[in-house]
């Protein structure tokens, strides 16, 4: 089993490396950089000044050198400097992480609990009215743009309660903060829970078709024992993987929801940085997002190795 994990860890590093290259290249596909934007807003271009700024920011170096400087810096924990604010990138990014983490965490808990429970129920009661209703609901959950859901929630708050949930960065207490984040978390979580529900359902159905379920019934086990002790135990293994997929899904939702609810998190910062072509911030943020996704998947793999006896006690 440890061999398996070491291999996965190594793969993770390779993947991260690959992402850094891809991101770096993607951002520089089209000529033009932040200096253009600065001068765009000024209305004219002063070539000398442009060159000076470019040299300051290191933009006149060949791409490979720029990349090497960035990666080298990353390894040392130096993320470079933001173009816009000229402060160290780490200083800009780090404080915004906690709130996004809390939002994502809440959404994850919400969607996993809802999604798994409803998915199991839907599978166990396959083809009943309840199953159809749940399937339609989950399908519509996947069809709603999450930012629209956020807007609708805002609208509902305003129309019915006459109140807009404004997130303050220095809330009174931890629970108060979670309360404020509950609504946006629901907006983000709703789509994820639909995904989790569908995946859990199909995993459960697949398991219920297996021979060993028939054996359990032949022993006289009750439906409940069959469903929960035999089927669910097997169906949950892929669900663990599903949580990994969820992570990537959630981040997309975070981006728009933080924008809609005006939450000063990492995801909203990404959008702002992109608008400003603030490369250092964008690069590092995307790397951070990729790191989170890859890490979550690695943890999921570890969990899988621990939970599945076929991997734990190698075949």
């Amino acid at each position: 089993m440890s061999g398996y994990l070491i291999r996965r860890f190594f793969l993770m590093l390779v993947t991260l490396f690959g992402i850094s290259v891809v991101i770096f290249v993607m951002l520089r596909l089209v000529p033009g950089n932040i200096t253009d934007i600065i001068f765009d807003s000024a209305g004219f271009v002063n070539p000398k000044q442009k060159q000076r700024i470019e040299r300051e920011l290191g933009l006149d170096q060949p791409i490979v050198t720029q990349y090497a400087r960035w990666i080298g810096g990353l390894a040392r924990g130096d993320l470079g400097y933001a173009y816009v604010s000229e402060k160290p990138a780490l200083q800009e990014i780090a404080p915004r992480i906690p709130v996004s983490a809390k939002l994502a965490g809440l959404a994850l808990v919400f969607s996993t609990l809802f999604g798994v429970t409803l998915g199991v129920v839907s599978a166990v009661r396959q083809d009943t009215t309840l199953d159809y209703v749940l399937r339609v609901v989950s399908l519509s959950g996947l069809s709603l743009p999450s930012f629209w859901l956020g807007l609708l929630i805002l609208m509902a708050c305003v129309q019915w309660f006459g109140w807009i949930p404004i997130y303050r960065s220095t809330p009174e207490s931890f629970w108060r903060e979670l309360g404020l984040l509950a609504l946006p978390a629901a907006a983000v979580g709703f789509r994820s829970s639909a995904l989790v529900m569908r995946l859990t359902r199909s995993s459960m159905l697949e398991v219920l078709r297996q021979d060993y379920v028939r054996t359990a019934r032949a022993k006289g086990a009750s439906e409940r024992a069959v469903n929960y002790r035999h089927a669910l135990a097997n169906a949950l293994l892929p669900v663990v993987t599903i949580v990994g997929i969820e992570a990537a899904f959630l981040i997309g939702g975070l981006i728009v929801t933080e924008t809609v609810f005006n939450i000063p998190g990492v995801a909203r910062f990404l959008v702002e940085a992109i608008r400003w072509r603030d490369y250092p911030i964008v690069q590092n943020l995307v790397m951070f997002i990729a790191l989170v996704v890859v890490l979550v998947n690695f943890i999921v793999d570890m969990l899988y190795a621990v939970l599945d006896p076929r991997i734990k006690f190698g075949a």
């Binding site: 993947t15 993607m26 951002l27 089209v30 069809s143 743009p145 930012f147 609208m155 959008v271 992109i274």
Partner: protein, 277 residues
Amino acid sequence: MQEALYFVRRYPLGAIGAVIMALFVLTALFAGTIAPFDPTATDAPASLARPGGVHLLGADFMGRDVFSRIVHGARISLAVGLCATALGCLIGVTIGLASGYLGGTFDLLVQRLIDVLQSLPLLVMALVMAASLGPSLTNTIVAIAIPLVPNVARIIRSNTLTLREMPFVEAARAVGMSEARIALRHVLPNTLAPLIVLATAQVGSAILVESALSFLGLGIPEPHPSWGRMLSESAAEYVRTAPWLVIYPGIAISLVVFGTNLLGDALRDILDPRLRR
């Protein structure tokens, strides 16, 4: 006709999905005829008109008719959805087929690349691409198509790997068929079924991503009407005063994506032999 009725009875949800998609396509094609107003025509006196009467679904702050903008927006969404999916699938199938078939170092490299690209959420990749390419209709299509490629490539690749070992491929080789011909004439058609299902789902994803991009201001630019951008323009400010600006474009997006999902699910049930009862 008989067949159509059978389809409706056996897959009611799929039939609904097909109807929605048909409506969507028709609306897009005949937008000019259906829409009463020019979607970009501003009309200051009609600013923020409530739904009803001349402006069926109301008007926005510039006096543009919401209904007409939604109808024309269908054209944009359809174009972006179909083109991005088609492009993504084309590239993805080529890469997946080649990778699964050729194997070796090429396959290993492609596998790593797919892993890398799949570690980033769809929206993030599309955002970065859209931002670096600049706002235009074509660029948006490309920005959405590229992130779709890894998913398609992965599925096609795994299918190809399975099919490559199958007896009928060996038989074709034994008859003396060239590898390229085998790949195109024998392997590819057998990967079509999952591809169709995947593509239908991807159209929905593409439309959702496009609306998110436009919502963030990095997608379809003026003057094309885009449902996503309609929502961003009306966000927050008009939530209280003009809710119709928020409700209708969102319903349009949700309905269309819902249709693709229903259709995709039904297609999957039809085409997957294992699930046949």
